[in-house]
Amino acid sequence: MLRLPRLDYLRPRSVGEATELAAKHPGAMFIAGGTDLVPNLKRRQFNATTLISLNALPDGRLVEGDIHHGVTIGARVTLDELARHEMLGSPFRALAQACGSVSTPQVRYMGTLGGNLLVDPRCNYYNQTYSWRKAVGFCLKKDGDICLVARSSPRCWAVSSSDSAPAALALNAEVTLQGVEGTRRMAAAALYRDDGIDYTSKRPDEVITTIHLPAVEGRMTSAYWKLRRRPAFDFPILGVAVAITWDGGAVREARAALGAVASHPVDITSFLAPLEGARPTEDLIAEVAEAADKPSRPLDNTDLSHYWRKRMTKVYIERALRDACGLEPLGGRLTAQVRAGAG
């Protein structure tokens, strides 16, 4: 039996108490659904000696507000609830799709949005049992001193593997954090750092309490597309989230972010500028998608080859854009090109 290390299990009754316990126990970690943390701890990827459960807190389980005033989601709302939540209709659909595409129904019943935003960046050399890592040679991220993917690199390139993170960026979401020093609210993008080890700006004593989706003015559509080997189970090896606000048939603003191509979710909004003010035709979407894959630089440290993940980035951007524009997602030029190339 693969077991957890010896640890204390604390169950605070308020967020304030949780943050104080975290400040008092260096190396303590919060646990919500445990679906990322427990496997990682069983593989000894962290040295935590204390878990602080967020599951006895009285709050954090509600979805409030509406499209016109903005929606506030408690950090402990489960992925299953969000995948089918009526509040996450058309404008916020990308988030529902992202949550609904996480792993299996079982993991979605247990896993929460807060935990999903903070998934520990993954790597083929890291998400392995202790004995596997010991046999191959430990790496920078845990127990070792070199990166096994990029041996001369001074940093870790573990992959941001959260499905909801790119959706949160595309939807311009904000998160509220509460810590011993007070409460702060920041753009979802500011939660992340481009580093496979030190991947979040959240301080260890801070609890994510809520995620906010801003009020929608006029019409907005969004979509999330995810690449993985087994659709029923796997982490993303590429995720594309797109959100578009409309002025009639023309794009007012288009935002997008990529998941699983770097150590943080990558905002590619600036590449969508040619869409603004335009009616998105098939050709325009393909052109924009073709250029917008530039920041995608996957390394050879997840499933499938990094060549293929790079090759598919523009294709998935095209699919997500077409989806958000109400066009048949698989009917675009870039999809036709890969089909012809593969056939």
């Binding site: 693969l2 299990y9 169950r11 445990g34 679906t35 427990v38 069983k42 079982q106 019943y109 247990m110």
Partner: protein, 162 residues
Amino acid sequence: MPIADRVAVRLRVNGEEVAVMVPPYKTLLEVLREDLGLTGTKHGCELGECSTCGVLVDGRPYLSCLAMPLDLEGREITTVEGMADGSEPDPLQVAFAELGAAQCGYCTPAMLLTARALLDHDPHPTRDAIKEALSGVLCRCTGYLKIFEAVELAASRGRRHG
């Protein structure tokens, strides 16, 4: 402060209140199998990747290998041992046996419970809904078809027969 060797955990398993003294870092899977003797719940990957350790918590499929017992106090836990009604098996168990929906049987407890959760929420599911609901439970033997057929047979017979 030293780490507690054992803590008291009160669980409600298959309708019965049970109290155990266990290390706080034991997962529900370990407590069920090792402390409560309920070995019907199987262990596979122990990492959330196969669902063979599936149980129901308040009627929803949960992975016992990732669930922490202290957080489940007050919740209703159902294992495969709790499916039969006295000596009368659940219609799903009957249908699985009749149609040969189990080969090695290792995934069967989780398949049965996951299917039970589905039928309790959706008594007449489509084939697609069955596939989606069971998609997390890995079976390396049957090829799934007989399992889908057994769930459909049980659904057609209703909650309990006889």
